[in-house]
């Protein structure tokens, strides 16, 4: 009986050693599998990657406070080793330092967001635009401006300047064509792009671009 017990103990010990050895040894093919698995995880993270953007309210070198789109306040944690900083201008970007980011800058942050806090991987200083649409309620031919009311009943005053790109929908072809201020009428719909600025008052903006949908389209 004792012999049987001893044999069973030895067999159990050998089996345990083999199992233990299997769990710690990795063959080259296992390492390849691990790499594939890691890449897959990285891809999933990348696919789910989202960014946050808003206006800087303060920057103390380790934390940036940010006001988001719905006036939500976020805390952006900066990591001396990890976080990279860029300024976007047109189609290119250049690397900058954390100190170059100041109050009222518009920034985009990538990183992991938890509640109202984000640990930044990268921060981009960028321009911010408002893209809107609504019905033209007033055309001021003396000051070259139009008043637009949107679906949320907000009113915008758009200054049409020489640099403003003025476009109109051709109601026959539905193509988009260049136009002039004289073609814009009260009652038309318009789509517009303006640059968000800190010194804007009463929703009055110089228009970057307007696209008019003539009212005739709706009575055709």
């Amino acid at each position: 009986m004792k012999k049987i017990l001893l044999i069973l103990l030895i067999a159990g010990f050998i089996l345990f050693r083999q199992v233990s050895a299997q769990t710690v040894t990795t063959s080259p093919s296992d390492e390849k599998d691990i790499k594939v698995f890691k890449d897959k995880i990285a891809n999933v993270i990348k696919k789910n990657d989202k960014a946050l953007s808003g206006l800087v309210t303060s920057n103390d070198g380790s934390i940036i406070k940010l006001k988001g789109g719905d006036d939500d306040v976020f805390e952006v944690k900066l990591d001396g080793e990890l976080t990279k900083y860029f300024k976007i201008s047109g189609a290119s970007k250049k690397e900058i330092k954390a100190d170059d980011i100041s109050k009222d800058d518009y920034i985009i942050i990538t990183g992991i967001l938890t509640d109202k806090s984000i640990t930044a991987n990268s921060i981009f200083v960028d321009e911010s635009y408002i893209v809107g649409s609504g019905r033209i309620t007033e055309v001021d031919k003396d000051n070259y401006s139009v008043k637009v009311i949107n679906s949320a009943k907000e009113t915008f005053t758009l200054d049409v300047e020489t640099s403003t790109k003025q476009l109109i929908l051709n109601i026959k072809t539905l193509g988009i064509e260049q136009t002039g201020f004289s073609k814009i009428k009260e009652g038309d719909y318009t789509h517009f792009v303006v640059k968000r600025g800190i010194d804007v008052k009463d929703n009055k903006y110089p228009a970057q671009k307007i696209l008019v949908i003539p009212q005739e389209y709706f009575i055709k």
Binding site: D49, K50, A51, L52, S53, K84, I88, G90, A91, S92, K93, I108, T110, N121, S122, F124, D126, E127, S128, Y129, I130, V131, G132, S133, S151, L167, L169, L174, G175, I176, Y189, H191, F192, V193, Q208, K209, L211, I213, Y217, F218, I219, K220
Partner: protein, 131 residues
Amino acid sequence: MLGGFFGLTLINKNKETQLIKNKVIAPTIVPDKILSTDSGIIQNLEISSPQDGIVVDNGSVKITGKMEINSLIIIQTPIKDISFKTKKADFSFDLSLALGENVIKIVAYPSDKNQNPQEKDLKIYYLDSQL
């Protein structure tokens, strides 16, 4: 004894009948569709992809969505303006992106011109792959 049992059964039956009569049948909520006043179902503007706030690493994105046939769709971004009429309920188009934040407004003017336009806003971040 038997009378009591019969009475109880009658009370229960009456309760069941009342419950059936008072049962509220709530209308089925169809989030992306509304019922037309005339006939059939009108498809509201719906953007299936991409998700709002997503980061992409190339300079264009395919936008797919749904809207009622014969609606005028206007898409505007700071760098692009697109207009077309929907021939099918599903639509898709490629949109070029600027480096950084891309604010995209998609407005659908329904074929019934008495109906209000419908709008969707998207923010897509084109931040290249080196990061």
